[in-house]
């Protein structure tokens, strides 16, 4: 019942293609896939696809990627062909194949040559040219070229005609090989490139993200907020397994003449973080503001007790906007309402205290996102001191590097004294790390 050797290899290649398109496949799952194939056989394409899908793809997004990858991978080759081994005689030379016009033999030869040339190991799309050349060499292009040259020189009748048809065959071969490598690159290399780009984006300063990268940046922000939230926003109680609550048990036992029929166990309540985020959306941080708001939006969806404020000259509560609008609308509305005006940190602090002072208690962590540039207005350090006395801690994330703090109209150095953490934060990576620290300090782990 063991499948033929080539089928094994095809499946291994396919699994590698899957891994390249971000379907994580562990060795154990690969073994499952082999067992599944051995069970269902190769005759029914849909059956093979479904059987592999249930063993290899492990969530809804992976299923989508799996389907796409399957279609690309098995676009030409059929499982039956591979299982039976090579259809044409493997000894057929390139010339014979071209003369016979046998397309399936040509494809077969290309597949074999690609295996020898390591075409499936392609990592980046820039390797395409080199690999095409290698595959052609492995197929015996040099021999073919020499043959064409000698045929052209020969006097025999018919030889020049043959040379003509071989030349045409060669041109066709180039086209085929290029298309073949294109497909390989799409299978194995497209995701590596994307991942590389994501990595670079995550460490790139908010202020220097190019317009065309904004979309992928947004996707990254969302993924990050979801990841953080899943880790920290769920449980409220945790039973301390096996720890008896003696006081409760004795009290309950009174009803049973002191015999402790009804046991009470200790539980521990996990404190949920209560977070107040104040986000500067003024002109000086305009480039970063969009991402900070996006992050705020994503976080708001998943952290229950989060109050969000935005300000430039005045401060407003944006909870409703973030709750009711879609992310793009919310950001536009916020920026329209109060964005891009000159900052006034003193006024913003007043606005924060006036109607919302009651919300700020010793359970609250305040996160301020802003550059601390107050346009020479009164910084109201007294309010900042009150804020730091009243709340659990203040965390200030500033998109500017530390060397700029206190320069010009920046009051950052003065504000920083009241913060538990004051850090430069102008990349996604640093944003994630800092927020994670905030959430983690609340949870005993």
């Amino acid at each position: 019942m063991a499948p033929a050797e080539p089928a094994h290899r095809v499946l291994e290649d396919f699994i590698r293609a899957l891994r390249a398109s971000e379907v994580r496949v562990s060795p154990a799952e690969a073994i499952d896939a082999h067992r599944a194939l051995a069970d269902v056989g190769f005759a029914d394409r849909t059956l093979v696809k479904d059987a592999l899908a249930v063993t290899l793809a492990k969530d809804a997004e992976e299923v989508t990627r799996f389907d796409a990858c399957f279609e690309t991978f098995f676009a030409r080759r059929e499982f039956t062909g591979c299982a039976d081994g090579a259809s044409a005689a493997p000894s057929a030379s390139l010339e014979e194949i071209i003369v016979a016009g046998d397309r399936s033999a040509l494809a077969e030869a290309m597949e074999t040559a690609a295996g020898r040339a390591g075409a499936a190991l392609i990592q980046l799309s820039t390797q395409r040219g080199l690999l095409t050349r290698r595959v052609l060499d492995e197929m015996g292009l040099r021999g073919l070229e020499a043959r064409i040259a000698s045929l052209r020189e020969s006097e025999e009748p018919g030889d020049s005609a043959l040379a003509e048809s071989l030349t045409r065959g060669r041109a066709d071969l180039f086209v085929q090989a290029k298309a073949f490598i294109e497909r390989q690159a799409k299978l194995y290399a497209s995701e590596t490139g994307r991942r590389l780009r994501d990595q670079i984006l995550a460490t790139q300063a908010f202020t220097s993200v190019a317009d065309e990268d904004v979309r992928s940046m947004e996707a990254l922000v969302r993924r990050m907020a979801k990841r953080l939230a899943q880790r920290y926003a769920r449980r409220r109680h945790r039973a301390k397994v096996g720890k008896l609550d003696v006081r409760h048990t004795i009290r309950r036992s009174l009803a049973h003449d002191g015999v402790p029929f009804d046991l009470a166990w200790k539980r521990e309540t996990i404190e949920r973080p209560q977070i107040v985020v104040v986000c500067d959306v003024s002109r000086s941080v305009a480039a970063a503001a969009q991402f900070l708001l996006l992050f705020l939006y994503s976080l708001k969806e998943v952290v229950e007790r989060l109050d969000a404020f935005a300000f430039s000259d005045r401060l407003v509560c944006v909870d409703d906007l973030l709750d009711d609008e879609t992310v793009d609308d919310a950001i536009i509305l916020i920026l329209e309402r109060i964005g891009f005006r000159p900052t006034d940190y003193g006024r913003a602090l007043e606005d924060l205290f006036a109607p919302h002072g009651a919300r700020l208690d010793r359970h609250t962590t305040v996160i301020i996102l802003g550059d601390g540039r107050s346009n020479h207005a009164e910084p109201r350090l007294d309010l900042m001191r009150r804020l730091s006395d009243q709340t659990r801690s203040i965390i200030w994330l500033n998109p500017e590097p530390v060397t700029y703090w206190g320069q010009g109209d920046s009051k950052m150095d003065a504000y920083a004294r009241f913060c538990r953490v004051a850090k430069t934060c102008n990349t996604l990576k640093s944003l994630e790390r800092i927020i994670e620290d905030v959430l983690r300090t609340y949870l005993p782990r």
């Binding site: 994580r24 562990s26 154990a28 799952e29 499952d32 067992r35 599944a36 069970d39 269902v40 849909t46 059956l47 479904d50 059987a51 899908a53 249930v54 063993t55 793809a57 492990k58 969530d59 809804a60 992976e62 299923v63 899943q230 769920r234 449980r235 409220r236 109680h237 945790r238 039973a239 397994v241 015999v259 402790p260 029929f261 046991l263």
Partner: protein
Amino acid sequence: MKAASLPLDLSIADPTASVESIEAGLAGVGYIASRRIATALYMASHLQKPILVEGVAGVGKTELALSTAQLMGLPLIRLQCYEGLDETRALYEWKYGKQLLYTQILKDHLGPALGEAPDLASAMTRLEGVGDLFFSETFLEPRPLLQALRVEGGAVLLIDEIDKSDEAFEAFLLEMLSAFQISIPEIGVVRATTPPMVFLTSNNVRDLGDALKRRCLHLHIPLPDQRLEERIVAARVPEIDARLRVHLVTFVQNLRRLDLRKTPSISETVDWARALVLLHARTLDPSLVRETLSVLLKYEQDVVAADAMLGDLLGRPVEGSDGAG
């Protein structure tokens, strides 16, 4: 609730012999399965692996387990997960009250029994024997997981909404899912005589751990396309008029394209079809739809949004029948 009883030939032949027989068998018990669902079941029974079923609420995840149990003629054991679920609820518990009651009642007999012992050491030895009695099967309360392992001839175990449980519980499940065995400190390892067929369902409240996913086959049930949904409605609500069925499924399919807070899934479609049958409806007219819309949509703002689009949704021809989904 099920449409038809098990056909005779299927109950004799092994229903899991092929993908087609599973598909037909499930249809026989009133569950219209897509090809991929049937394949997943087939793989699960042949590789003896649990299936992790994902999909939005009301798409038929739990129903799949119920129907499979009915198809295979096995008892269904269900474990509903929730935040804070632990081993004592899922696996086993000592019947503490019973133990205590017995010791209280037997207290008077204990004196004479031990009184005959000549010295302390022999009294201890006697007491030890008694102690073991209190941690035996008599005082063991098996919970769903243990029950599933001990059923003769196998069972279908449904672990519902696994994503609602804690990570710790998920980790605890791993031994059970990969080896079909469970360790109980006082008794030893309990191994399944016949491995149960395990279904885990998840609504994606949180991401499950990789270790758990690796041990399971994965099945994602999407919302059905027009044709599949018509078949499902036909199987579930056989008394509905054929034209009305096409019309109402088209309406729901169109409704799903709106940006709603909670998109109606299969169970809502079936409920709606039942409601329409009860109201003796022959066609979908706007006032009827408006009155019954609350069966399909669970949020006020969704109802308002759909109401505004009602003319569009109803007026749209049956173009959805070929390209929907």
